[in-house]
């Protein structure tokens, strides 16, 4: 196992560059795949995981960066590329057989073993590639047997890392196995389910830290696209949230346009902040901010201060270039009452503020119940 150890070390060493490259090329779906943080071999597993997710993005790139592309996860065409990569890199050949040792549940080892188990040589991989896309029986059986084999190999594995890796890899391997089984199901029918179940029951006990995603009917079921699907769902969920935040985005559909809108909105908000700070900087030295104002402001804020969106008070002669966004933002922030119109607000405001500070107030009946309410509270 000295060679194994050295192989592992080499692995790690090379993985350093690979990680950086691959990681930059992928987003991680933490729930489904292995975590992004460094695991075994100094996070050399990342490329595998990320490969599964970034399969869309030009496998060749990733392959060139990572040293041990997972052929199963990549497309068929990519596999030849990756295998070529393997061939070129002699060190990898040493590593590949080692990998199954480190963690029985690892997706990679699973893949590798499912290829015709234990890729002691690359030809096995190639064989396995075709095998994988062929009848389930092979993979189904392999699912069970390699697991046992892997377990044995794990014990053989010299490195203490294997223990950690096992834990890490178990969950992902589990899912990936399930995914593979589901894929088989989709291809062949229901009967596979039993096989899959057996495999699963034979699988490692630790499934806890894992998000099991049920593949829906008609949807792609290999682990690669499942991870992608989960990620896409999360992203679309967040996009929906953002859509609510950004005014005027309800009609827009499509990620690209939404993103544009969001970016524009954020830019406009930042510009507003800058503009306001400029104004405040100009105004400031003439005034002293004191606690009274602070208190009144607090109350006004708690009342859901719908500020005037249209412009500055007449005192400051400037035209705030507030884009329509600002109006939306202000009006959409629900205070206590109905959204106020900006102009009458302004009016009432000035009077109210002056009243507040002079310990007198003019309750303006024109619709600013919030404000008058707050001023009453003040007194």
């Amino acid at each position: 196992m000295g060679s194994e150890g050295s192989g592992g070390r080499v692995f790690q060493h090379r993985g350093g560059g690979g990680i950086g490259g691959t990681n930059s090329a992928s987003d991680k779906v933490s729930g489904v795949t292995m975590c992004s943080e460094s695991m075994f071999y100094g996070s050399n597993w990342d490329p595998i995981v990320s490969l599964s997710q970034s399969g869309n993005f030009g496998n060749s790139n990733i392959v060139s960066q990572s040293e041990f592309a997972n052929p199963l996860m990549l497309e068929n065409q990519a596999m030849s590329g990756s295998l070529a990569q393997f061939h070129s890199d002699s060190g990898l050949v040493d590593l590949l057989p080692r990998i199954p040792n480190f963690g029985s549940g690892s997706s990679f080892s699973e893949m590798v073993t499912s290829f015709g188990h234990n890729p002691d040589s690359l030809p096995n991989l190639q064989k396995g590639a075709t095998q994988d896309h062929c009848p389930n029986s092979d993979s189904g059986m392999l699912g069970a047997s390699p697991y046992g084999k892997r377990k044995r190999e794990v014990q053989q594995g010299a490195s203490p890392k294997s223990g950690e890796e096992e834990q890490h890899k178990d969950p992902s391997g589990d899912t990936s196995r399930e995914d593979n089984e589901r894929k088989q199901k989709s291809e062949k029918g229901v009967t596979r389910g039993k096989q899959a179940k057996d495999d699963r029951s034979g699988a490692e006990p630790s499934k806890d830290d894992y998000i099991h995603v049920r593949a829906k009917r008609g949807q792609a079921r290999n682990s690669h696209s499942l991870a992608e699907r989960v990620r896409r769902e999360r992203i679309s969920e967040r996009m929906r949230l953002l859509q609510e935040l950004v005014p005027g985005c309800n009609k827009i559909t499509g990620k690209a346009m939404m993103l544009d809108e969001i970016i524009n909105y954020v830019q406009s908000l930042q510009q507003q902040v800058e503009f306001l700070s400029m104004k405040l900087a100009a105004v400031n030295p003439e005034l002293n901010m004191d606690i009274d104002r602070l208190l009144s402001k607090d109350i006004l804020h708690l009342r859901g201060g719908n500020t005037t969106s249209l412009g500055v008070s007449p005192g400051l002669s400037s035209s705030l270039p507030f884009p329509p966004y600002s109006q939306g933002a202000f009006n959409s922030a629900p205070g206590t009452g109905p959204p106020f119109h900006s102009l009458p607000q302004q009016h009432v405001w000035n009077t109210e503020l002056q009243g507040l500070l002079q310990m007198g107030f003019d309750p303006d009946p024109s619709g600013n119940m919030g404000r008058s309410g707050s001023s009453k509270m003040e007194l």
Binding site: D27, V266, P285, M289, L294, G315
Partner: protein
């Protein structure tokens, strides 16, 4: 609404901090009072810092802003993190832009970038409201 609750809490916290910062700024006789550009810069920095401080270290973007102002330990940590987890950039232009806009966005996953953006937008909205309030207060007092 939960968001409203969050908004008003953030607003008060920000308002307090910002006003305190502005007071301090005013008291600083010297360059800040004479040089309007410097004062503008200082005001803007105070606004951003107070906002981030009001939010606290719970969000990635506020951490990034705070580390920018504090500039010591956090920078080292965030730099390290970036090295270990460089994120994929689709390079379509939009994602990069968003990452450039949201503080600390460069080191995030796309998913977390989106949620950070949502929180950041809400805080920006609150900040703008508070600052306009302050502006109106001060202007009306004159």
């Amino acid at each position: 609404m939960a968001m409203n609750f969050h908004q008003s809490a953030i607003k008060t916290r920000f308002a307090v901090r910002f006003v305190q910062a502005m007071k301090r700024l005013n008291k600083r006789r010297g360059v800040t009072t004479t040089d309007s550009y410097k004062r503008y810069r200082a005001t803007r920095a105070a606004a951003c810092a107070s906002m981030a401080s009001a939010v606290g270290p719970q969000r990635a973007w506020s951490r990034a802003v705070l580390s920018k102002t504090k500039r010591r330990r956090f920078q080292a940590i965030s730099r390290k993190r970036r090295l270990i987890n460089p994120r994929r950039n689709l390079g379509f232009g939009q994602e990069e832009d968003l990452r450039g806009l949201v503080p600390g966005g460069k080191g995030m996953e796309y998913c977390s970038l989106l949620s950070e953006t949502a929180h950041y937008i809400r805080c920006l909205q609150a900040q703008i409201q508070v600052m306009t309030d302050i502006l109106h207060h001060s202007s009306s007092l004159n």
